[in-house]
């Protein structure tokens, strides 16, 4: 099954990812604040998770058997809110309320306010530990749900991430998948300047994880990586997904300034044209 990925599936996902990108930009533009770069780099992965990989239950949103997703890089939440709205957790129109007072869509994900958010995040580095807690309980209760955690690459500077990598190995959490959105940029510059991560695969292997390196914008590769993770037993999997920060909008791509900047009217117009055109 791994080798024959339905072409229809890929084009379906591509369509969805485009929709996500449009919504991300509109939201951040409406809020006039937010983090477009890291939301755009994660679009394909998030699309694959919510539209193909994960088992979610709209009728019972807190279904104890559902798969969980934790966006450890919480500032990228526009991509998560977009996909949740698209799936029907809340009305698409609500996206326009991002970061506004009384909105359910906080500047960083909030499990108590936003339907479909499995855990509160935003303070970097903590999502993997939370995911480990969930995966451990899944094992304890003999449930077959899976837990997905997306980390930003800058987060790997945080020691708690390495504490969590150690714990994931100890408890043999094969029901846990980490995806590193490896766009190689963090707030103050590129990883190499701020705090180098290479050789990233060696590091993760030295912590005894199953490591899969993949192109984070290629649906074929992403789908295969998730499938491989499912087939791996007795150890957790980390997918190192090479991505481009700001992907899809030429003037945002690989530009660290777009980590946390909202587009103005003109920039939004150009960006949307580019995304729709591609």
């Amino acid at each position: 099954m791994v080798d024959t990925i339905n072409k229809n599936l890929v084009s379906f996902l591509e369509e969805k990812a485009t929709e996500l990108r449009i919504n991300i930009l509109k939201m951040i533009h409406a809020a006039q604040s937010g983090h477009p770069g890291g939301a755009l780099s994660a679009a394909e992965i998030i699309t694959t998770l919510y539209c193909h990989e994960m088992r979610i239950n709209l009728d019972n949103q807190r279904d104890p058997d559902r798969d969980r997703f934790i966006l450890s890089k919480g500032h990228a939440c526009p991509v998560l809110y977009s996909v949740l709205a698209m799936k029907g957790f809340f009305p698409i129109e609500e996206l326009a309320t991002l970061r506004k007072i009384n909105s359910r869509l906080q500047g960083h994900p909030d499990m108590k306010k936003t339907p479909g958010v499995d855990f509160t995040t935003g303070s970097l580095g903590n999502g993997l530990s939370i995911g480990i807690g969930m995966a451990l309980m899944g094992k304890l209760d003999k449930k077959d749900f899976r837990v997905y955690v997306m980390l930003g690459c800058g987060e790997l500077d945080e020691g708690i991430v390495w504490e969590a990598f150690m714990a994931g190995t100890k408890f043999k959490l094969d029901n846990l998948v980490v995806i590193i959105d490896y766009n190689k940029l963090q707030l103050d510059g590129d990883n190499d300047e701020v705090m180098p991560l290479e050789p990233i695969v060696d590091k993760l292997e030295a912590f005894n994880w199953n490591v899969i390196r993949t192109n984070g914008h290629d649906f074929n590769q992403i789908i295969k990586a998730f499938a491989k993770a499912r087939e791996t037993h007795n150890k957790p999997t980390v997918i190192v997904a090479d991505t481009i920060k700001g992907k899809g909008v030429s003037f945002m791509e690989n530009k660290v300034d777009w980590h946390g900047l909202a587009p103005d009217d003109e920039q939004l117009k150009i960006a949307l044209e580019e995304i729709r055109g591609s």
Binding site: P64, I132, L140, I160, M166
Partner: protein, 319 residues
Amino acid sequence: MYKLGDSIPTRNAYGDTLVELGRKNDQIVVFEADIGKSTRSAIFGKEFPERYFNIGVAEQNEMAIAAGAASCGKIVFVSTYAVFASMRACEQVRTFVAYPHVNVKICVSHGGITPANDGVTHQATEDLGIMRTIPGMTVIMPADAVSTRELVIAATQWDGPIYLRLTRDGVPVIYNEETSFKIGKGILLREGKDITIIAIGDMVSKALDARDILSKQGILAEVIDMHTIKPLDESIILDSVRKTGGVVTVEDHQVECGLGSAVSEFLGENYPIPIQRIGLRNTFAESGEYELLLKKYKMSVDDIISGCFKVVGRKKKKR
């Protein structure tokens, strides 16, 4: 189970109670950070290995894992030392335990200067204050083994996060097993009319000793065990001070932000009267024997007594 007067570290009562709870409720899970033998959580681990997770020397990770586990419907106990839970993992407590208001019960040993010989790195004297300022947090320190058992049991029935602080060293058992305890409800231990002594944790038995001596000197002190400093039992304070007109607070903690602050803040807004706080004053402690440290840092029975005299004196002047 615990005999009046016996000296028992409250961490021991915590370990025993965890096992008792574990037998009754299979939703209870325990996380530990490589000091299970010391925090006594290892006793639980021995009986319920499948529900006991040793995370290693990694307290931030431990706290965030606990939050994740609690979101799956478990009642989660986190064991470590007070310094590590309240300071190293402070942000995890605030953002991932308190803010989502998940059922994590942070039960920590080595509160105050009770790890007397270990020195400052292992003595938590700021933790109650840190935890008290976090919205929605419940902050408890039981006075002895009996109340520890009762309050740990109560913690499992409490909705939301709890910080419960234990002693490393022995403290005398002051309660018999008939006493009932409620989170957020202080205990009126002795009645009096001249002054109210409000104490917490290991200092409650010291307050009782002070009362005995004071009564021989003609001062009748009322003694309250304020085991929960948040939410604070305001009515027990008001009832008492309306009668006595003066307060001494006693805590094994900095006088800032802990019990003394909580009581002063409440009385300052509602019923201003003379008050004296006993505790550490802008200083770290050090290694040494517990009783000697109490003396050196002005938290001994004698210091409670002189605090009471001060307040009684100020009451007279006020008149």
